[in-house]
């Protein structure tokens, strides 16, 4: 009969030795992983983080359609879409660096905390190498920060606030979509021609990051024309009934109402402005005018007849005549039966640009990918020659000035292109005061190693 003496100290020693032994392979494995979520199998996974519920769900679902199409094209399915017109020819339809592209989706709900939670889940559980999508600047800034901390690339979707590539810019974040400053710069000359230089503007502004920067930008652009700003009233997001904010406008001495609203808020505020007779009114001896600086096709459809003749701006529109646009519209239209929205376009392009950058870099390492994207010049993606500026990770390309169509023939052409503003007119310095000034910095690229 043997007696076993187990002491507390002995047990702890044995436990520590066993633990170290078990952990040994993991330690070596993690040492072998050079960066976050380095793909080791024959697939690479993207995370498409879009609003699938909440007020921007329609845009999110359109983004998802385009992202799925982009993955198909990267993997050699379908007609190839914009890969046929993209100036870079390294993507050949065999995936990325020999791996098939795959994707998982998350629901941002257009809420920063929900968007960060779904992004975190995709990074930690699904091992995504890149996150793309979104329809809100608040969400984009939040998810961009998370991607920076986690060491993966964030290819922003629809985010128009100056802050995304301004004071909140990050080394791991990239934006193809245009911004509020560029909207103002593109719209100003058209507004000058249409309404002259002697105007008094009243702003209603959504009370969050996008609204603030949009208002600041359009105010600066119109004041440079000689317009006077009568008032700027911040309105709560999702207010629904804007009548209390609209009724003081006519007696304010203003003759232009600028609606710095997006989505459902824009549909409601514009509709109610029309109901209160603003578009039929006269002020200061001129016709009263309404301007919506940022348009989307889905919003325009929601606003119906009220949008006729109202000026705004867009990043891209399916009616552009260039080859890249036509290739994408054909692919998307044949698959889904209707033309793509601007948010769909930017997500599609961002996904292809990421895949292209990985291939050119020869690595999925986010810092190598970032380096390949920085100062990358390309064409054939629907906006003409485009620069992905390295200093702030903002794309520079032509901007579209749009107007609500007077005679739409279908539900898809409620907006018409008034002018394609050349890129030179919407350029600015990376340290522009509206973009965080000299203090704004990308910081260091983080690969998570």
């Amino acid at each position: 009969m043997s007696k076993t003496n187990i002491t507390r100290r002995g047990l702890m020693r044995a436990g520590a030795a066993t633990g170290a032994g078990l952990a040994l392979p993991t330690i070596f494995t993690s040492g072998a992983t050079a960066f976050t979520n380095e793909p080791t199998g024959d697939t690479v996974t993207f995370g498409f983080n879009v609003p699938q519920t909440g007020p921007y769900a329609e845009e999110g679902l359109d983004e998802l359609r385009a992202q799925e199409l982009a993955v198909e094209h990267i993997n050699g399915m379908g007609d190839g879409g914009m890969l046929n017109t993209f100036s870079s020819k390294v993507l050949d339809g065999t995936g990325i660096l020999g791996k098939k592209a795959d994707f998982v989706t998350g629901d941002t709900q257009t809420k920063s905390d929900a968007a960060r939670a779904s992004a975190r889940s995709m990074i930690e559980k699904d091992g995504v190498v890149m996150i793309n999508g979104g329809s809100s600047s608040g969400v984009a800034v939040a998810v961009q920060g998370l991607c920076q901390e986690a060491g993966i690339i964030f290819m922003a979707g629809l985010t128009h606030s100056n802050d995304t590539t301004g004071k909140d810019r990050k080394a791991n974040g990239f934006r193809h979509f245009f911004n509020a400053y560029q909207s103002g710069a593109a719209l100003a000359p058209v507004l000058k021609n249409a309404y002259g230089t002697d105007r008094r503007a009243y702003h209603l502004t959504a009370d969050y990051t996008w609204g603030w920067t949009q208002q600041e930008s359009i105010q600066s652009a119109t004041e440079a024309l000689g317009w006077e700003t009568v008032n700027n009233v911040l309105t709560p997001v999702g207010a629904g009934d804007f009548s209390s904010y609209i009724t003081p406008v006519l007696n304010s001495g203003a003759d232009v109402l600028i609606l710095n609203h997006y989505g459902g808020d824009m549909v409601n505020s514009l509709t109610q402005a029309v109901q209160f007779g603003l578009r039929d009114a006269q002020a200061n001896g001129k016709n009263f005018e309404v301007i919506v600086p940022l348009y989307s096709e889905l919003m325009a459809a929601g606003a119906g007849d009220n949008i006729r003749g109202v000026y705004g701006s867009m990043n891209w529109n399916w009616q552009l005549p260039d080859e890249g646009t036509q290739a994408f519209v054909r692919s998307f239209g044949e698959k889904y039966g209707f033309p793509p929205s601007g948010s769909a376009h930017t997500c599609y392009v961002q996904t292809l640009l990421y895949a292209d950058a990985v291939t050119r870099a020869g690595s999925f390492n986010p810092c190598a990918v970032a380096e390949a994207l920085e100062d990358f010049e390309f064409d054939g993606m629907g906006n003409g020659p485009t620069l992905y500026r390295g200093a702030d990770h903002q794309c520079f390309k032509d901007v579209l000035v749009m107007k609500g169509s007077d005679n739409p023939t279908t539900e898809y052409d409620t907006l018409e292109i008034v002018e394609q503003t050349p890129v030179e007119q919407v350029m600015y310095e990376p340290n522009h005061p509206m973009f965080g000034g000299d203090e704004a910095s990308l910081g260091e690229c983080n690969d998570g190693a």
Binding site: A57, V233, Q275
Partner: protein
């Protein structure tokens, strides 16, 4: 002065909606003793009845227009509504144009049915349960209903315009001696206020001057005694639930030209309507109506730039501040009576 009149007018239409929803909430609470958090969803369903009627009347067939092309370069398919095809462009066009008033007629039986199904199918099982259970189940039901609406109609707001005859606005200022354009008010909002006044008056008259209404009021005061008299009060209360649902539904239909319907509009109105009921006094019908208009107007005043410059954000909290003030000074609300929700 003109700004004050404008905000009073603004408050009237918002107050009308609050009053109509709060009236239904109070009716249900007063008769069945149920705190119905799904009542806002009934307002939303009414709004989507208007959307459905608009879509039904706009149901169309396609004709090929050989002279035009679609976005893919194929011959353009032009839509022609069946209504216009059957009745001619003039009469058919007018029917489509008047889809919102048509929807009111459709909404009444639809909402009565929805109310009946909701009450018999779910809520009646919770009559003897604590208020917390009732709130949880009706709140859950509201979420299910709004998700169903989103599934079928999408997440974006849907334009549901007023008839062309009521587009534009009325220069109210000129009528009372102000400069032109000083006080303008959209025709449809005036229609909504008048409609709300008629519905509220109708409900009060129904409860006051009909035998049915008298029995219901007696049941609200003393359910047991009315039951002992051999009157089936439960059946009448179920009908009152249907009536409350119909009132919320037609309020939602008529509100669609003011606020484009979206799936979360019910929840937006519900919370504020509960504040209205609490301020008015739980179980008090006149209190609900009075508080609806009072809070609607106060909310409009709080949105004035002059007020917001002194108290930023006041427009977002004014209703809750008033509710706190009323509850501190008059715990039963403005017109509440003793014994309601008091153990």
């Amino acid at each position: 002065m003109d700004a004050i009149i404008l905000q009073i007018l603004n408050g009237l239409d918002k107050g009308s909606a609050y009053a109509l929803i709060a009236l239904g909430l109070t009716l249900i609470f007063g008769t069945l003793g149920v705190v119905n958090f799904a009542h806002g969803a009934l307002f939303m369903i009414g709004a989507f009845v208007a959307v459905s009627v608009q879509r039904l009347l706009g149901f169309s067939f396609e004709q090929i227009d050989p002279d035009k092309t679609d976005f893919l370069g194929n011959p353009l398919k032009v839509k022609m509504t069946y209504v216009e095809s059957w009745f001619g462009p003039e009469v058919g066009g007018a029917i489509v144009d008047w889809s919102v008033p048509v929807a009111v007629i459709v909404a009444i039986p639809v909402m009565l049915l929805v109310g009946f199904v909701m009450e018999r199918g779910l809520i009646k099982h919770f009559y003897k349960r604590p208020h917390a259970d009732q709130i949880l189940v009706t709140f859950g039901l509201a979420i299910v209903l709004q998700e169903l609406i989103k599934y079928f109609f999408g997440a974006n707001p849907i334009q549901t315009p007023a008839p062309s005859a009521f587009k534009g606005s009325f220069d109210f200022g000129v009528l009372i001696g102000f400069d032109p354009n000083a006080i303008i008010y959209p025709y449809w909002r005036l229609v909504y206020f008048a409609f709300a006044a008629v519905v509220l008056g109708g409900v009060f008259a129904f409860l006051r001057f009909t035998t049915f209404g008298m029995v219901v009021r007696a049941g609200m005061a003393d359910r047991e005694t009315v039951g002992l008299l051999g009157i089936n009060i439960d059946k009448r209360f179920t009908l009152m639930f249907g009536l409350a649902a119909a009132v919320a539904g037609i309020a939602g239909v008529m509100y669609t030209p003011i606020l484009s319907p979206n799936y979360h509009m019910g929840m937006d109105f519900l919370v504020l309507s509960f504040v209205v009921v609490v301020v008015g006094g739980m179980g008090s019908l006149p209190g609900a109506v009075a508080a609806g208009f009072l809070l609607g107007i106060l909310q409009s005043f709080a949105s004035m730039n002059e007020i917001k410059s002194i108290l930023p954000g006041i427009d977002q909290v004014i209703m809750y501040l008033v509710a706190i003030l009323i509850l501190l000074t008059r715990p039963r609300g403005l017109l509440g009576r003793a014994g309601v929700m008091e153990e």
